[in-house]
Symmetry: C2
Subunit: 172 residues, 2 copies
């Protein structure tokens, strides 16, 4: 499989599956946004299940993970590097101080808008280039470890936590 | 965007994208399988959170949804059409009788093995053909509604419920 053949030139099929991948990402972000908007700060402060992550921790976690995509995809530095410690390297209930829910809601909107700008500006060829946590040597052998693959994996990560956050919504 | 250009011929990028999509599917199925294997029948019988779906309902639901992919992708008839009523059209706790957990565990293994056989036998061109719940007319305008897109969406569906099923595992 030639690296040149993979990363240069456009083709309808390449554009089509970039659309499929970006659509799937947008669908999960829209579902999360709709849910966050429907939940009060008080609801966000509660646990998704007994002794499990709170809504606010998961909101901060999803903001921080989405923020981490900016450098990983070579787009920019993180917007909120201060969120890594409380929401990625520390578990919930570890005594870390969290920003207020209202702040985290703004970050969620802002980080997704910023990422969307970069996604819209990414050329088809660029999606098939390596992301920043794989070496050039490994990428030659494993060309699937490209930027689009990060988007696929993070879409599933969003779905995973959406399944938990939905438990904050009162049952009808 | 020419339909002919999309659905005929192979290209490294097409094969790469199919690999990325199938890998993501396999990753989520493997995580679910590992979790089901780690849970006892008694654990599966409990609710994932208070007043939420039980593990056994979600196991049956995921078997039934995976089974539904066989006709949707044009592979075959369903193996377990009897699961649609208790696990798709009915919610949990609706009085429907469930097969025993041991049976559903066997179905989970069998349906994924069967689907994997079909996935392995599907040509790159075939993945970009329409699935069976979109009309030929609509597919001309919306070529992203292809078989590969079903696999992307069902991978996220598996992730969503994995996030809930993980709550059945005792916290360390």
């Amino acid at each position: 499989m030639s690296d040149i053949a993979l990363t240069t030139g456009t083709s309808p099929v390449k554009e089509l599956f970039i659309k499929m991948t970006v659509d799937a990402w947008n669908t999960q972000v829209a579902r999360l946004t709709k849910l966050f908007d429907a939940l009060s700060d008080e609801q966000l402060a509660t646990q998704t299940a007994p002794d499990r992550n709170t809504g606010i921790y998961l909101l901060g976690h999803l903001v921080a993970v989405t923020d981490g995509m900016l450098p990983l995809l070579g787009f920019s530095e993180k917007l909120y590097p201060q969120l890594e410690k409380p929401f990625i390297t520390s578990p919930d209930q570890s005594g870390q101080e969290f920003p207020a829910a209202q702040e985290l809601r703004k970050y969620w909107t802002a980080i997704n808008a910023k990422l969307n700008e970069h996604i819209a500006a990414t050329t088809p060829d660029e999606w098939f280039k390596k992301h920043n946590s794989v070496s050039t040597e490994d990428f030659v052998k494993e060309p699937h470890r490209n930027k689009l693959n990060i988007l696929i994996n993070r879409t599933n990560h969003n779905s995973y936590h959406l399944g938990q956050l939905i438990y904050l919504k009162p049952k009808k």
